[in-house]
Symmetry: C2
Subunit: 298 residues, 2 copies
């Protein structure tokens, strides 16, 4: 039995928000995520990734965090006689940098069912119909499949949960409704990607959607100064949801995440909006998470 040696590769999910669209950096006209070999010269995984992302895309990457390591044997991109380990990273790029340039694709192109800002997308009807027949196709697992579909797509009373992006993609994959599953062209839900890159993207989206709720990472996607509405729109773009304006600003302000720059902006045609900047010091001031455990005092 051959043991222990493998080809190591780094894959990046680079995200930027331009206008109101969340975008991801791609290569091959949007068919794949940028990736490169993990070289001996690299001191750490992070620095390795930073190097070739920088040189390949010319974008300074701000925040960078490890996403997941994939190495399943049935992945499409295995090299013959060897095994590929793909270590994926999530990177956040400042708005300006990602603007308009080629290579950046809106991520809802790949996941049209994930954008609920204009209300529930019409594709969901088709998706649910197809999931129903998939569920019914196996009498033994029927009930469980229905419950799972209802749950991940928010039909079980719990409502839509944006964090479940990965679970939804995995369900569609299992049901053979995405073309990566090798089920022919009739399964055209969203744009496909090379190998399992779309799954990796889904992993990144899910991670980011979860993270913005308890860590101030959104600011990595913002310019130096911004209005609260721009901040809201950015978060809405990522979450694929619309937020309550007044409560959103109350939330941001009471957490002391931002401070006024003193300037205003009147681009939008109404009352000029105050400009804010991120208070970088909060990163070393607070934990920002807060326990949910009922502590006792002693």
């Amino acid at each position: 039995m051959t043991i222990g040696f493998a080809h190591a590769e780094l894959i990046a999910v680079l995200v930027a928000v331009t206008g109101d669209e969340p975008r991801v950096m791609t290569i091959r006209s949007g068919d794949a995520l940028p990736s490169g070999p993990f070289e001996m010269g690299h001191r750490t995984l992070q620095s390795g990734l930073r190097e070739w992302v920088q040189e390949q895309t010319e974008h300074p990457v701000g925040y960078l965090e490890q996403l997941y390591t994939f190495a399943d044997r049935d992945r499409n991109n295995d090299i013959p006689g060897g095994r590929t380990i793909s270590i994926s990273y999530l990177g956040l790029v400042n708005e300006q940098s990602g603007a308009g340039r080629p290579g950046w694709h809106g991520w809802y192109e790949y996941f049209p069912w994930e954008d609920h800002r204009q209300g529930r997308p019409a594709v969901l009807d088709e998706i649910m119909t197809r999931l129903r027949s998939w569920a019914d196709a196996d009498p033994a697992r029927r009930d469980h499949r229905h419950r799972r579909a209802d749950f991940t797509f928010g039909l079980d009373g719990g409502g839509w949960n944006e964090d479940l992006a990965l679970q939804r993609y995995e369900l569609l994959y299992e049901a053979g409704l995405v073309s990566e599953a090798g089920c022919g062209a009739e399964a055209n839900l969203g744009r496909a990607m090379f190998a399992d890159h779309r799954r990796i993207l889904a992993t990144g989206i899910a991670r980011l959607r979860a993270k913005i709720k308890y860590r101030p990472v959104v600011f990595e996607l913002m310019p130096e100064s911004f209005t609260l509405l721009r901040l809201q729109r950015t978060i809405e773009a990522l979450a694929g949801l619309t937020l309550h304006k007044q409560n959103f600003r109350r939330l941001i302000e009471q957490q002391d995440l931002v401070e006024e720059t003193g300037g205003t902006e009147s681009e939008t045609g109404g009352r000029p909006a105050k400009l804010f900047r991120f208070r970088h010091t909060v990163l070393e001031e607070r934990a920002l998470a807060g326990t949910k455990l009922p502590l006792s005092r002693n």
Copy 2:
């Protein structure tokens, strides 16, 4: 430049709670975490890990999740002329299985400063003293270092945050206060481990402490039926904190995580406690996370 090939290894952080002690599975009398090569025969990373953990330890592993992938060049266990990629996993093992057997070590042996159930541990005084002098040793970074120490060890008004276990270890490492940092024997804070295994353990502890707050993973550590106090003690063991009894039970019950078995237990000498079991169906009923974003209705 040599590229892309590396030695791949799997490392497991297996956790069980026996009595009131959280334990971790080790080899070499507690000096290292169990690890093994990632073999070509393995279909997936998870299944690969499951296989040799099962055969090596004879413990059925319930919950298993990927932790982190380490591959920095300065890791101690690099093989000459090659590079080791270590993919670490967190596994939860049922109480019975891990009981008493050799190989299981209480994790506070390695992190004595992390257990706050009997109040603030005395070691923390020594730690803070040493961190102070470390901070003062570099005038340029002095203030930043002090703030960081205060923050991670809960002296900045925010109080102790159990989730920061990894950050605390990393700070102690940077400050040269743990012997893995290669700073001689005078730095004897907690028991050391081989290579960077203690850092990996810290990663697992931090992940688990965070996760029990928003996912019902504790039940993987419990026997089929249990009293609410046992459940509380288990969580307290993991978090290194004491909880408010009445509020804890309110929390558990209102979330419908458990149901009564009908039986009771009177081992503890007082009023007999009702026995509960985990309602496995909640896993497919709800998301259990709940957004913190201020949604709007339309």
